[in-house]
């Protein structure tokens, strides 16, 4: 059974600082997603990572994937308050398999 772990679960950081959220998964995967969720809202898709070494960046967020280590990271650069949200990674075991297994989420709070 595929297991996905994120850490930290809670993260409070000051504006302007950098930090990284980690996502570990237990079995081989072809696809890894990162999502953002604001309180009471749905999931907003941030990145899709498909191959080893994949790196994608948008604004202050950058995601990477190491399939050999079964690890993805979401790096936040010079954090701003608007980035406060819960971030989830989700893993699909192989192409064509639609069942995403989500991590527990990282609740990020940016302090002015």
């Amino acid at each position: 059974e595929l297991k996905v772990e994120q850490n930290p679960l809670f993260l409070s950081m000051q504006e302007g600082k950098n930090y990284t959220i980690y996502c570990n998964y237990s079995t081989t995967s072809d696809r890894l997603y990162w999502y953002r969720q604001d309180p009471g809202k749905s999931l907003e898709s941030l990145f899709v990572l498909l191959s080893n070494g994949a790196v994608k960046q948008e604004g202050r967020l950058m995601a990477s994937l190491d399939t050999k280590a079964r690890l993805s990271t979401l790096h936040i650069t010079a954090a701003v308050h608007d980035l406060s949200a819960t971030y989830f990674c989700a893993v699909a075991p192989r192409f064509g398999n639609e069942k995403l297994t989500f991590g527990t989420g990282t609740r990020l709070t940016i302090i002015p």
């Binding site: 996905v4 072809d30 696809r31 997603y33 999502y35 809202k41 749905s42 999931l43 907003e44 898709s45 899709v48 498909l50 989830f88 989700a90 699909a92 192409f95 064509g96 398999n97 639609e98 069942k99 995403l100 297994t101 989500f102 991590g103 527990t104 989420g105």
Partner: protein, 114 residues
Amino acid sequence: DAGVTQSPTHLIKTRGQQVTLRCSPKSGHDTVSWYQQALGQGPQFIFQYYEEEERQRGNFPDRFSGHQFPNYSSELNVNALLLGDSALYLCASRVLGRDDEKLFFGSGTQLSVL
């Protein structure tokens, strides 16, 4: 483009009742998946529909059933509701086989079982 739309947005039921939730996928999408998200947790996969058939199923009891219509819209039915079924139910859609594309989620239906 309306994106993925779900209805209703909120629903209150009592134990033992039955509920039907509805989802219209994003335009051009043919695959619909349903997820259950309990408070403070990540979403859990319920099942996925493609070409009007259930293609994959997560670890949910038979009380959870679904349907997909020819226009790709979908329904999630839950029978004999339990208190533990209270959650946000999310519908997601994409085009089957386009693995490099994002999976789009609807805004969800918040179900409360009293």
